[in-house]
Symmetry: C2
Subunit: 165 residues, 2 copies
DNA sequence: ATCTAACTGATAATCATTGTCAGAAAAGTG
DNA sequence: CACTTTTCTGACAATGATTATCAGTTAGAT
């Protein structure tokens, strides 16, 4: 997509180079923080911005390192703390695979699940209304009030299938 | 279908319910060990027996403590080690919830998924052919060759719903 | 029975995550 | 704006599950 794939030229004045990321402006990020009854701090804003701009599905550690570039003062306790709060408030979705560190992403508006390649770890996202409905049905049969679910599919992606020949 | 439409009920005192499997005799357990190219040791036999007899979905720690009664000499490193190997060989299924300790069970013949209560951690099992088929379909749309999947539903069980009034 | 590679238990180490706490900074209040 | 209360923060310690190490033990092939 657009801007980030344009190779940037080194310039004398940093401020000349501005990367625009589309959707979320600051105001919207603040709303998220306020919705959690938290104070708006530069750290929290930075964390949300980085979560939003960056690649999806980061670990807490990766996020911490990314942040370190522009905000070397942010401690990892703060990252973990805020990620947890965001997860509890469902603004962020946590994905765990095996015993590996948890991965996080800003919860997308449309709910989706993941299809992960067991060879190259590529993650595809999908949504499927029919599956969701069946899940509700199963939960109801047991008398459960469904709160959320995790559906992770694993397989070999087309590229890796091709390679293994 | 069939199974999943029967309103199955883990009743009030889970611990009182002992699940009897078809008599898994020693010979059968040995087969499992040999299938993994491992030596048959008293420790491994004890672990398998306890896994088979006991309540489902135990943590490594719980399993270790159970074993301690009759086999106080077995160390927990051995328990962890063997559980991992069993899991890799798909003889045991690992379930993780949040950051909590992993839970294990001997992989049942019929594949099933889990429905977990977020309040009391009770786990119900279900299987649903329709969901499985839809999963295959989704994977195919992306060109993936599906190897396995994780479907974990979370909600509030009837008992806990009643309690919160 | 012998031999050797695989196994084991004790314990140290690791690694993700969480707790602690003194100092810093947000957002009311006057 | 100065003051105050409360929440936040970063450094670092602590935790808790899991894994690695390693010297001694044992299964099972020869």
């Amino acid at each position: 997509m657009g801007r980030d794939s344009v190779p940037l030229l080194p310039r004398q004045h940093d401020e000349d180079i501005v990367i625009h990321h589309d959707p979320f402006d600051e105001a919207e990020l603040k709303k998220i923080i306020r919705a959690l009854n938290l104070k708006v701090t530069s750290q929290r804003m930075a964390i949300l911005k980085t979560l939003h701009e960056g690649r999806r599905h980061v670990t807490a550690q990766e996020l911490y390192e990314k942040l370190a570039k522009d905000h070397p003062e942010i401690g990892f306790a703060t990252v973990y703390r805020f990620l947890r709060t965001l997860t509890e408030g469902a603004f962020v979705t946590e994905v765990r695979m095996g015993g590996l560190p948890a991965r996080y992403e800003l919860t997308p508006k449309g709910h989706h699940d993941h299809l992960t390649c067991v060879k190259c770890s590529k993650i595809c996202e999908f949504e499927n209304r029919a599956i969701e409905q069946l899940q509700e049905k199963v939960a109801n049969q047991f008398g459960f009030a469904l709160t959320h679910h995790i559906l992770e599919l694993y397989g070999v992606c087309p590229e890796c299938q091709a390679k293994s020949k």
